[in-house]
Amino acid sequence: MIRRTEGKLLPFQRKSVWLADTTDEVLVAACALRDPGAMAELFDRHCDAVHRFLARLMGANSWDLDDMVHTTFLEALRSAARFRGKSSVKTWLFGIAANVGRHHIRDQVRRRSFLKAWGEIKPTPGQMPDLAAEHHQMVERVAGALAQLPFDLRAAFVLCDLEETSGADAAAALDVRPGTLGRRLFEARRALRAAVEEVQP
């Protein structure tokens, strides 16, 4: 350990290791003050979760998933000063990611590639051939049905059921009332079940 002594040009351990121990909310506040270290830490903590959320929302083979992750964090940086702590930081990021996804699929060209993105799903290895085939068919059906859902219903389903976000948090993230979120969730589940059961042999 190197200590600092009067008059010495000695290195000292700076206390900004604080970033590793601090809460997400404090990190967002630091991001609002444009602290690059806080931005990097926030990205490190939530990059995987945001990537997974967007992959579920937009399709895992969507070629511009990384761009959407980038845009999500850029938007988070820009709107960090407006974060009021109504939901957890992770859910807040999911809300931003959902908006980014919504804007993204408005582009018709990209929409076509988005629909294709669900097409190439490989069965999980290490299972019995018949089980693997069955599993593959089921996942494929769900993927197809999910891709056909309207965006708002899909966002509610992914956020609540796949990411296991609480109702209040999800409603805050999607900027809707809890009742609206419940209705969308019900619609999404019903539509998915109907689509999956309809094509079942």
Binding site: M1, I2, R4, G7, K8, L9, L10, P11, F12, Q13, R14, S16, V17, W18, L19, R34, D35, P36, G37, M39, A40, E41, F43, D44, C47, D48, H51, R52, A55, R56, A60, L65, D66, V69, H70, F73, L74, L77, I121, T124, H135, M138, V139, V142, L146, F157, C160, D161, L162, T165, G167, A170, G182, R183, L185, R189, R190, L192, R193, V196
Partner: protein, 341 residues
């Protein structure tokens, strides 16, 4: 438990994120076979949806995004600050220009200008009976001109930027014992950071930062956030990517400082020696010599430390000179103690 063909309450269950969290729904679910069947089917669907493939982000792409975000944070901060300064500078220039013109034509009487013409100092220009040393807080030299970097990088020379150069800010460059600030980078590093920042957020920009620039800026940000291990790794990457570029000097300097702050004294010493060998004429040579001297004192290498302090003794930076002077005092005292009977 009742078995029904349908149940009106299933809509309530379907609208809940998790019926287990609502006691009333949980009770109904325990009793109603229809709702149990429907809810089980919904859960199977959710489980299947959870198994949809979600590939993890690629490491290289992830690093790129991370660096770009860090640079964007820096860029946004600069954008927020600079217009105010620019506005203030424009206002000041307009007011001063107008006043000067009016004073020159004799329309306005400016007391300090009159006194200056008459050769009498103003009261505000005196401090305890002595004229105030204005130069102490003002840039003392012309902006440093930096030769064009190798490998076609677009490192902007300090003369092109609006900030004073490292030369001009000489006495304000923080030493190793102080927290690093934006002004701690040399003109070349500032130029590099500026060019990388300018390139990062714009997808349409034609200039793409080189790997060395990206690595340097990542190392710099890591250093500022106290992540010395990452800073060292990034600075080494910058050195490997462009060992002969203008960034190499800064990268090697900050690698040495990060090593010292991390507590790797032996490696820090080695890195500092390497810096002095490669860049003997660097503006930071005196500073590095003084730092190295103190590290040598820690290991009781008095003569080597004294030699380092002698080198730093005549540095242009007062803080470095002062530190070297104190270091020489310490080595002299230590030698007296060791030679005393």
């Amino acid at each position: 438990m009742s078995e029904r063909a349908s149940c009106p309450r299933f809509a309530e269950i379907g609208r809940a994120v998790s019926p287990d969290d609502v006691p009333e729904l949980r009770r109904h679910l325990d009793e109603c076979l229809y709702c149990q069947t429907q809810w089980a089917a919904t859960k199977r669907l959710i489980e299947a949806a959870r198994q949809l493939p979600t590939k993890a982000p690629e490491l290289g792409r992830r690093q790129q995004t991370r660096s770009a975000l860090v640079l964007a944070a820096t860029e946004v901060r600069r954008q927020r600050v600079s217009p105010r300064w620019a506005q203030a500078a424009v206002y000041a220039a307009v007011v001063l220009g107008a006043t000067g013109v009016l004073a020159a034509v004799g329309k306005v009487a400016i007391p300090w200008l009159q006194r200056q013409r008459e050769g009498t100092p103003a009261a505000g220009d005196r401090e305890h009976g002595r004229p105030r040393e204005k130069a102490l807080f003002e840039p003392q030299a012309k902006p440093e001109t930096v030769s064009a970097p190798a490998q076609g990088t677009s490192l902007a020379p300090a003369a092109a930027s609006t900030e004073p150069s490292a030369e001009a800010w000489g006495h304000r460059i923080p030493l190793i014992g102080k927290a690093p600030g934006r002004q701690a980078t040399t003109a070349r590093a500032r130029g590099a950071l500026a060019s990388v920042s300018a390139a990062a957020p714009s997808a349409n920009s034609t200039h793409l930062p080189s790997p060395a620039e990206l690595a340097f800026s990542e190392g710099w940000q890591a250093f500022r956030s106290g992540d010395y291990a990452r800073a060292i790794a990034a600075m080494r990457r910058a050195l490997q990517a462009a060992p002969t570029s203008a960034l190499a000097e800064d990268a090697r300097y900050w690698e040495a400082v990060a090593l010292a702050r991390q507590g790797s004294v032996a490696k820090a010493r080695q890195s500092m020696y390497e810096f002095l060998r490669l860049f003997p004429g660097s503006p930071r040579a005196g500073e590095v010599s003084a730092m190295l001297g103190w590290l040598l004192i820690e290991s009781h290498e008095w003569s080597a430390a004294e030699q380092r302090f002698r080198t730093a003794e005549n540095d242009r930076t007062p803080a470095v000179r002062e530190s070297a002077k104190k270091g020489l005092e310490v080595t002299a005292r230590a030698r007296t103690k060791t030679t005393a009977p």
